[in-house]
């Protein structure tokens, strides 16, 4: 008898823990990931610029309580630099990949719905941009508009829409011949109405996946063109600048210069990935109710 009671009480104890269904845990993951990103952005505003001023008394310190990520060869606090750099990179990454995805969405939908001439033009444009190495195009565009964050954003946006445009164009072509779209046309609906109500909801997964895949790409490109000297100015704390500079000091045993910024970059990208994936799960009716 007592045995049964203990088993029962054990069961009761388990029931006290909230039982999450998939929708709840998905929402939880989205909030958690967004919180990480918000923390990084908020922290970058709170941390003062004094900590990244040059201070030769404190140079090359390994991680400690006062400097959790250590300091670099100029005595700048790496934690502050990383957080500030990351928030600048998040900002650049979001704007660049978002505008790139929107360009792809507009061109892809236009190519599939606005007639043959426009389609040929878009396909030609895609081939043109895919035909040259996009780092070259990126440098060219970033240099022409005057470098800096603006150059990186415009450069990434103008060079990274191509493959997603192809995917979206193919998807729209397939949707256009779907029976429910044809019925809608016979019901007297206008092409624009059909594009917004029927076709756009089907492009949500492509939108999120495109965005999530482009985001780390944008940050890494920011790093590479800064490394080549066409991007941000070297004293701006961007994650690309930090990583490329750290590589030079890695051989002297200062591992913390690259390790922590790299780790945080990974966490950020993973957070974006998780937000994108979970939002997609929430919006897709095939998964939304499980």
């Amino acid at each position: 008898m007592t045995e049964i009671l203990t088993v029962l009480s054990k069961k009761k104890f388990i029931n006290i823990l909230p039982k999450l269904n998939r929708r709840h845990s998905t929402l939880l993951r989205v909030t958690f990931s967004s919180l990480i990103l918000l923390c990084i952005i908020a922290a970058s505003m709170l941390l003062s610029n004094d900590r990244i001023a040059t201070n030769f008394d404190l140079k090359n310190l390994p991680p400690s309580m006062a400097h959790p990520f250590g300091t670099d060869w100029l005595g700048r606090d790496m934690f502050t630099r990383t957080i500030k750099g990351l928030s600048l990179s998040i900002y650049i990454g979001i704007i660049a990949s978002l505008s790139s995805v929107i360009i792809a969405l507009i061109l892809g939908m236009g190519a599939a719905t606005l007639g043959k001439a426009f389609d040929t033009f878009v396909t030609w444009l895609v081939d043109l941009f895919l035909g040259m190495p996009h780092l070259v195009a990126l440098i060219l565009i970033a240099f022409t508009v005057g470098g800096g964050a603006k150059g990186v954003i415009i450069g990434v946006a103008c060079t990274h829409w191509t493959s997603l445009t192809r995917v979206i164009r193919a998807e729209v072509l397939q949707l256009r011949s779907a029976e429910f779209v044809q019925i809608s046309r016979q019901m007297g609906k206008k092409p624009l109405w059909i594009a917004i109500h029927h076709i756009l909801p089907h492009l949500v997964p492509q939108f999120f996946i495109g965005f999530v895949l482009l985001f780390p790409h944008a940050i890494l490109h920011e790093a590479s063109i800064t490394f080549l000297g066409f991007g941000l100015s070297p004293h701006k704390p961007a994650i690309g600048v930090i990583l490329s500079e750290s590589m030079k000091y890695l051989s002297t045993g200062m591992w913390w210069l690259a390790f922590f910024p790299g780790l945080l970059l990974f966490v950020t990208v993973r957070a974006f990935d998780s937000i994108g994936e979970n939002l997609r799960l929430l919006f897709d009716p095939h998964n939304a109710h499980e």
């Binding site: 019925i183 007297g188 909801p201």
Partner: protein, 198 residues
């Protein structure tokens, strides 16, 4: 009113002629059957009549006037596969009200339950989805209805229920109905006249 197909001919791409010099009339209020073996072009004819495909030769007209390509088409087609005919990312309510807003009486007579309106298409069976497609096509602006094997996947009782509603509505609004089916008994039961495809 009369829906007329004159000297229709049609082929897919460079394939053989599926429809060759076909003539057909459907008067308002008439129930016409269309029957024939698989692959003889019944569905293709249904699509041409309702404006989903353009014929290579001949024409489809209402009272001698060609059907406008914009706006609500007075010739509505109900497809054989309702799963493909509804947008999987729309709740049923939006699908139902896309062309017009069917009244409660029609929904009740078709056996559409209120709770279904908030569901997604993947949560309903084929028969349940087909009722929505029928309700959608029975708009007051519909003059001719092309029913392409619309009850093939349903049990006999549901079949009878749906056809009852369609026939009543057709009588009420003076709609001409083309019943495309394999089922000889169904056609004999429903139709005033039968057209056999080759």
């Amino acid at each position: 009113m009369q829906l007329e197909a004159r000297n229709l001919s049609f082929r897919y791409g460079k394939g053989p002629l599926i429809i060759n010099n076909l003539n057909l009339e459907l008067k308002s209020g008439e129930i016409l059957g269309l029957s024939g073996p698989s692959g003889c072009g019944k569905t293709t004819l249904a699509k041409i009549l309702s404006g989903y495909e353009l014929p290579q030769g001949g024409s489809v007209k209402i009272d001698g006037k060609s059907i406008p390509s914009k706006g609500f088409n007075p010739v509505q087609l109900i497809f054989q596969h309702p799963e493909k005919a509804v947008n999987p990312r729309w709740q049923m309510k939006k699908t139902l009200n896309e062309g017009w807003s069917p009244d409660n009486e029609l929904l009740d007579s078709l056996g559409i339950e209120k709770a279904w309106l908030k569901r997604w298409p993947n949560e309903l069976s084929g028969g349940e989805l087909q009722r929505f497609c029928v309700a959608k096509a029975l708009s007051p602006k519909t003059r001719f209805l092309i029913a392409d094997e619309i009850t093939t996947m349903l049990d006999a009782i549901t079949q009878a229920q749906i056809w009852n509603v369609v026939l009543n509505k057709a009588r009420e609004n003076n709609i001409g109905v083309l019943v495309v089916s394999h089922d000889q008994h169904l056609i004999n039961r429903l139709c005033d006249r039968v057209f056999i495809g080759k």
